[in-house]
Amino acid sequence: METRRDFLRTAVVAAATATLGEVALGAASKIPSPDRRGILCDLTACIGCRSCEAACRKEHGLSSVSSLSELGRSNVPERRRPSPDALTVVNEYKHPNGAGSPTFVKVQCMHCDYPACESACIVGAISKKESGPVLWDTDKCIGCRYCMVACPFQIPSFQYDTALKPDIVKCDFCVHRTEKGGVPACVEICPVEALTYGRRSALIEIARKRIENYPDRYRDHVYGEFEAGGTSYLYLAKTDFKELEFPSLKREPMPGTSESIQHGIFAYFVPPISLYSLLGGLMWINKNRQKAEEETTE
């Protein structure tokens, strides 16, 4: 396991190689594995029972409140974000007419194919795994919280109430389960199978088929198929995703633009060299002028 010291060591080496004129390729240029996993979340099937919330808490030992009856339903209509206590939350969106059944939206890390948090992390504590999950490494993290700012879905949360060693907390796709061939806890518990875990490409096919077979039931949009370059979590819904407060994102990966600017301006060490040569030039001119002035006064 890499530690912070290891990171610093590699950072120094990387800086040295960069001065030699080698540009590190951005995260956006990595092509995700075609075999990566995802979760299809069918919001038309979700009944908002919060079993997934309870199972997630239990699985990660997050809170003493991990049974459905304890969770209750009082805070379901609130707009909640994942927190250090809950890696996933279910929010209720009333039917626009008021009379119809509400839509429930499960919110958690989307596990982007090109994660903005990974790109923003200055120490490489967040990484996208081959099989789909975006994971956070406690040993590398320095607690800068750049990932929280970078995330277009506002997912990573910070243990503000932990003084000594606060963590960044977010959904980990239950890697400890999936590595052993299992499925994430939320998927396993879902009583209506609104959640399906499997190969992302297969899930997209299924989602498309559902839309084709039931055009009245689904809006022709698989949220997450293209958003921000694609996400591991995919959503189907009847209503417009804007009404369910999903952010409208472009197809381009989030880190794409920022990384190309950042990497571009430092390419081949041009900006530092030009900056220092400019400053050096000014100093040299000033020095010459001073000398000339001194000569005239003398």
Binding site: I47, V187, V192, E193, I206
Partner: protein, 382 residues
Amino acid sequence: MKLIEQFSAYLVIALFLVNLHAIAQTSGKRTNGCLACHTTEIPTKADPSLKKCPRADMVTVHASADTGPDKIVLQKITGSPDLYEPVLFDHMAHAKMSEMSGNCVLCHHYNPPGSVLACSECHMSETSSKSADLSKPGLKGAYHRQCINCHRESGLAATQCKSCHSAKADASTPSRTTQKATAEVSVTRPTRLVFNTSYDDGKVVTFYHNDHTDRFRLACSACHTNERCSGCHKPAGAFAKQAARVVGGHDRCSPCHSVDGNCSRCHDKEPRPGFNHLRRARFDLARYHSTLACARCHGNRSDYKGLSGDCIACHSQWKSGSFDHRVTGFGLDETHGTVDCESCHLEKDFAKKPTCSSCHDDKKYPDASPGIRVRSVRTKRL
């Protein structure tokens, strides 16, 4: 010699190959069903060129509710930990209700031609995420989706686990598998609906739902054929909130009522009162006749014409002498029992007050009574 042997050997091989080819061709022709699923004559393993699966159009389940099972105990799924007793599903009640909502297909989707398949024939006990077929929910998911989708929509509080499941070793809730399934689901019915139509000379059409169900005794499925469950199962008062909308226009009424010609039969400027047989036909249905079905007197529904007000028109055996007057709640004494009906009921108008003047000058009904009031006796009808 050797040459001939060699030649004949080649000949045999050649014939065999030709035969093989022929067999292959004929067998291909015999099945002839490739194009049902493939877009090309010669699909390959690499490119099976499959058509869109016609499953969705193949559903042919048309069975009467009575041919299906009555109650089903859903006990194929055991959770870990196993918290709940098996669930009792009233198949008959749902099958009958489905006649108002698209029939068997409502639940038995994707049923291939032939017999009606149980859920567990297609939906396996393991969840889709763990099975090879990701597209199909497991049995538990399928059950939950099928039930909760409708029950949630109609506000039947089915998101409470205990509305279907009884917890194991829980004495407070009776076991659903043993208890008789009760109709704990109420149906909200409107009494009067006032439609605002676009017809200028009479915008208002008044529809009495209770007349149609109670008085005319129409089965729900006579009018409701393609409803959502929540159309009838909804919280009380929901009808009052929403304005009555004309769905389907004349099509809703036209199977029974003529919609050609006389618009004023239904369209009016004001809401109309409900059906009143006395006002419409001048015949009071009170007492015995109110419990009869319309067709009992009027015959075929398309031909509701006025009938004779004479009792004898229907009650052919009610002749003087054989008629037991007690059915009217009034028993005649011995002297009057043999008197001709028309002597008291002038012009055989039985709605009018009977008269005594045909025989008695000084008597008047009801001061003088030709008998006594009795509790009406039930005699053989008609």
